[in-house]
Symmetry: C2
Subunit: 751 residues, 2 copies
């Protein structure tokens, strides 16, 4: 049992760690040489130029202005002052709404903090149950529900608090759902012409012996949507071509590396081995080798390109069909076209840069099978992942390593290193697996055949959350592997399960407090510091960068990572809601996390991340649903806990909690979810009418080539993050009365 | 334990009962005086005229032609020879598809009968488990799975058979779903103009202070569906008016009764008491009293009619909006109109005669609350209905009756009658409740606010099935009240529940065999005999009928009663699938039921029932879903049974059964269900184009008054079953190449 002193120590350590990270960040970000690591977003937007191009040589790399170091926390107000409307303009609606999740955490838990500390802490503290019992206990337990005697009427305070938590959480959730839905509509209304507003993705076009796919599509839509149909683009299977282009790009990188090496040390031509990973094989001149390889690939690419263009077999039964009006597209996307509901499937087309081209050629019939396989695979991954890990751990022992890399034997046999390996290696194997997990989940989602990156990420997020819930949350509470839990649960009566977990909950409070501090506090500070990208950028800068464009590529910050970030936040919602009534002491730790993370990620969104796509907050129903899930879990566990406390009278009252919560969820689903999956005809008609009056446009020309596979657009470039900027003009004209101060952003926020 | 002899005796009794019913039917139907009871459908269609209008006096009532009695089973081939296409024309698609449920039963169980008898009966019979055990057993048990020793490899035969049953059932289900979906599409394509093809029901129209509802609707659809909008009809709250009209109709009936009474016995003016049920109160002249009452009501009706017409408050925020094309209606019905998904809700309008007008004025916001209330109420009704029954039973004893009707005391105290009351009254109370149950369920569905009669009946059917499953199926297997089961189940581990039920299953085979014979065989024969309608018709004919129109009203046969009939059939599917592998002896009894019921109900559909509405087989997904449910239940119970037989090796193999079945269901849901809930745009466009070319029509005039509340159409008439005929011309012109022999039906099938 941890005492308050233990917690205070852990808190001190983590606060110091976080502070060190933040101070390091404050110093590093001021160095011009790191500018592209800490402010890439502004470079990508073209609002900042390289500081290395002016000043003395030293000043190019190190900031010598001592005054700037005093204001090392300046980035906090900078991150907070940008108004939301500017933020949406600057980073997109997705990012702005993503930040609102942290804000939602604050909105939910600040009042809960006050309620619970004002009421439950005194109610818990003023008992002497633990003092009279013979068990050891700490002051933390005295503050928790454990200190209430069996069958005490004081439990009614906890029941009332559970209601208060539910009502407040639901109230905030509803307000937030409403706000986000309105933001989405407003965003849609204020957007300029975008190809996806007019385009529908048509899948499973039935084959026709007489006609090409293109003609079939044209005929079909000319007949069945004759007033609205405009044009269409068929989809080619360019996966092989894309692969070749990617390989060529990799070779090009190596060529660059060797050329730079050679230019620095012109006395020695760089050589390489042709075998696996350059470890063995014939020694050749590296530059020449790569040059011939690249030429070979270029020829292959040209051939494959011709093949894809001309071979009718490379045309997939999938097409992007564009309409004259948004109304027409909305009608087509939201209705069934033919008798057979598996043919001519229509759905809204994703943004061009959101399309996951690799999955478009997957035959539609195989999708169900893929889904089932991945469902089963995920089940086994969640409940039995410990088995392969244990297997690898058993392999990765001293003997195994000695066998694999015999030349390391003398080093390994040093006693200190030996014990280190034996002690830490198993843990490291697990850590590596957990680091790879998001990648594994992403591969699984890709295998399932989703057609847009946004949906891939959303699917990953929900699976990652489930995995964390089973293996981190349940796994920490009931020690034991997940598959053991599974068999326990199957063999227990249904109403015993919440009891088993419920009893263990108060005892694990200190564990989760420590978890929050390590993962939440230090983790967030580490995220702001961006140590890994910093190192990688400088490495690339030294070894690969030749031109300004290479440097831009090297600094590519990626997107915020919804698939891992969102489940992490949700985990805090879960812990917070579960412990709100049981151990209110935990809440302030959650609050610190939400506050810190909000500031930190707001800074990152403004200065660093560059979203891959804009899904217009399509992920919010998932976010909402997971908070609701956490709320219901917390209620069921509280019920289980109280039923062991001989507070049977409260059970029927508690039973109403999950029922009411589910009712609330159904209400929200009906009321707000359609805003995220359908496009109302009135909205479409309004926007059509306004646009026709305000700025008519040659839509056909605009849409004809909007959905072209990226390999056909600019060969040899992998600047995918630029594609979006190129294809989709995002210069939105906000209505000044609603989002004022639009014009000054570029001046004001150049850091 | 029943022996084979017991079963044979019960079978003999029930066969004789059924035969008596059928012979009585054969004789009664030949009497001209009963003609309107046994052939009302032909009268309603106007293809048969009253036989009482010709021949000698006696021949008007009794058939003296002795030859016709020899052919007393003639109706069977008559019922079977009408081809399906004619049947659809004659009785509608709903009825034709309803009959296919019985046919599906035959298609599923005939091969299962052969499989199981060929394989399982020998496998079961050739053991000596029961002979060696000390328990008493019968020959029936020797034929069942009970005769297999523990952990015998012979269980693999049962497992294989379970797979065979699943595969065959799913195969037939799929074929049938496909057929019915195609029949539905074909029916839709071959229908002439019908108002519901062009009309959308719009609910929850937002109020506008400046405009009337009618103007709001017109403006909205002119803007958002400007190419397609044609006209609309607002809905008035005429519930009070309808009530008044109904009361007047009742009074009119009494007036007729008294007038006929007076005309038969002109010496004595009939009198009546004005109090409750005519039991007490002042004595008045009945004819005069009713005449003044009717006049009063007529004035009230005229006033209320004016009120409804002119008062804007009586206009509900609901409208029937008609479109120029089916395409336009399909688009509007299947899309979201405005941002707020709870406003301007659109759905396909039901047929005019299918509309349940009384529920149109229910405010949309209250629907969810109503649904929840009814869900809870149904739960309690299912699990706790025995409590009020027991309470009533405790009241309805000798003392209670003596108190309520003291003048019966001498009769009650006769010993024979006393013991009769004590023995049978509790049973009768339960029987009355079960007879009222469909009415109670219908009231519950009406309270839920469904807008069409077809949906009301479908909801009732699914609830009735659930009730039967819990209280008849589970209740018979595990003796004990449902709420006791509930607490047992909650306190058992999840995997114990199928075991508990599974063990009991083989023991209850004889009970269900008897049930099938009584309810299925004799019940079906009784249905064909139509004893109750026969008596009621003759009573009405004597006491009420003045004109030919009154007689038509008296013979009104009603519809087939989907809400009670379909759950009954489903119950046989359930028993059949559960016992197919466990006690194959039961299957032939099921087969006899399906065969008999198919013939019987086909005859009834052709000659008797007059459907209230035509939902175009919209109920089929429910039927399919319930057979799937039965299949899954049978598989889970088999798993439970085998796990107690120490056949643990088979469990994983059996586990795949429900998983595969659910997978099949999901496939069918995706593949076929859309045919029953959506209208593909291609179909709509095809039909629009064809109609435009073949027979253009003034749609506006046709649709303008299609959806008018029945009270405004013809006051004082309650011939609701005629409305459909009047409003919707059902003269369909079938394509001769597909459904031949159409023209001869009217001649051939006049019986």
């Amino acid at each position: 049992m941890a005492t308050i002193g233990d917690i205070a120590l852990a808190a001190a350590i983590n606060i110091i760690t976080a502070l060190i990270f933040l101070i390091a960040f404050a110093i590093l970000r001021l160095q011009p040489v790191n500018d592209r690591v800490y402010f890439p977003k502004w470079y990508i937007k073209g609002l900042r130029t390289s500081p290395t191009s002016s000043g003395t040589f030293v000043r190019k790399f190190v900031n010598l202005d001592y005054r700037s170091y005093f204001k090392f926390l300046n980035w906090v107000p900078d991150a907070l002052t940008m108004p939301q409307s500017e933020l949406i303009d600057h980073a997109g609606l997705d990012s702005a709404v993503y930040l609102r999740i942290y804000l939602l955490g604050l909105k939910i838990f600040v009042p809960i903090f006050f309620f619970t500390w004002a009421i439950l802490i005194p109610v818990n503290w003023t008992n002497k149950t633990l003092e009279h019992s013979k068990e050891t206990y700490s002051q933390i337990d005295k503050l928790s529900i454990s200190n209430i005697p069996h069958a005490s009427p004081r439990f009614w305070a906890h029941v009332a608090m559970a209601y208060l938590v539910m009502i407040w959480t639901c109230f905030m959730l509803k307000k937030e759902y409403e706000t986000v839905a309105n933001m989405r509509f407003y965003f849609l209304q204020s957007e300029k012409y975008r190809p996806d507003q007019f385009t529908v993705l048509v899948k499973n076009i039935p084959p026709d012996d007489q006609e090409s796919v293109s003609d079939t599509v044209e005929n079909f839509f000319l007949v069945n949507h004759h007033d609205n149909y405009l044009t269409h683009q068929v989809v080619c299977n360019a996966n092989k071509l894309a692969k070749l282009v990617k390989t060529k790009q990799k070779k090009q990188n190596w060529l660059d590396y060797y050329q730079i090496k050679y230019s620095k040390k012109p006395t020695k031509r760089p050589t390489m081995k042709t075998g696996f990973l350059g470890l063995w094989g014939a020694k050749v001149d590296a530059i020449e080798h790569h040059e011939t390889e690249i030429e070979k690939l270029s020829n292959q690419i040209a051939e494959e390109r011709k093949n894809v263009m001309n071979n009718p077999k490379s045309i997939m039964p999938v097409a992007f069909v564009s309409f004259k009006t948004r109304w027409g597209a909305a009608v087509c996307a939201q209705t069934q076209q033919v008798r057979n509901p598996t043919l001519w499937l229509t759905e809204w087309a994703p943004e061009p840069r959101d399309v996951y081209w690799k999955n478009l050629p997957i035959p539609h019939v195989s999708l169900t099978v893929r889904k089932v396989i991945m469902g089963v695979a995920f089940f086994f991954l969640t409940f039995f992942y410990m088995i392969p890990i244990a297997f690898v751990q058993s392999l990765a022992n001293i003997e195994g390593i000695e066998k694999a890399v015999p030349f390391l034997k003398p080093i390994i046999n040093i006693k200190l290193i030996k014990s280190f390996i034996q002690g830490f290696l198993p843990g490291i194997v697990l850590k590596i697996f957990l680091m790879l997990l998001p990648k594994i989940l992403m591969m699984m989602s890709k295998f399932e055949g989703f057609l847009s990156k946004s949906r891939l990420e959303r699917r990953c997020a929900s699976r990652y959350y489930l995995f964390k819930f089973v293996n981190v949350f349940l796994g920490s509470i009931i020690a034991g592997a997940a598959f053991e839990q599974l068999s326990t649960f199957l063999n227990q009566p249904a109403n015993r399960i919440p009891e088993i977990i419920g009893i263990a909950i108060p005892m694990k409070a200190t564990f989760f407090i420590t978890y929050i501090m390590v993962d939440g506090w230090s983790g967030t500070a580490g995220e702001v510091l961006r140590l890994k990208p910093l190192v990688i950028y400088h490495l690339k800068n030294i070894f690969l960068v030749k031109t300004e464009r290479d440097r831009e590529r090297a600094m590519n910050p990626g997107s915020i990572g919804f698939n891992t970030g969102e489940p992490q936040i949700q985990f805090y919602f879960l812990i917070g809601l579960v412990y709100a009534v049981v151990t209110p002491l935990l809440i302030p730790f959650i609050l610190v996390f939400f506050g810190l993370a909000f500031v930190g990620y707001r800074h990152q969104v403004i200065n660093v991340y560059n979203p891959k796509y804009e899904s217009r907050a399509a992920f919010w129903p998932d976010v909402h649903g997971r908070v609701i899930t956490a709320l219901i879990i917390s209620q069921v566990l509280l019920m289980g806990l109280l039923s062991t406390k001989h507070a049977a009278a409260s059970t029927p009252v508690l039973l109403a909690l999950p029922v009411l919560t589910i009712g609330f969820h159904i209400y929200c689903k009906g009321r707000f979810e359609p805003a995220f999956i359908r496009y109302p005809l009135q909205e479409a008609m309004n926007k059509d009418t306004l646009d026709r009056v305000r700025e008519p446009m040659n839509l056909k020309g605009y849409l004809q080539n909007a959905y072209i596979h990226p390999v056909f657009k600019d060969e040899g470039s992998d600047d995918h993050y630029e594609d979006g900027v190129v294809i989709i003009p995002t210069k939105r004209q906000p209505r000044p009365e609603a989002w004022p101060g639009e014009e000054i952003i570029q001046e004001k926020h150049k850091p």
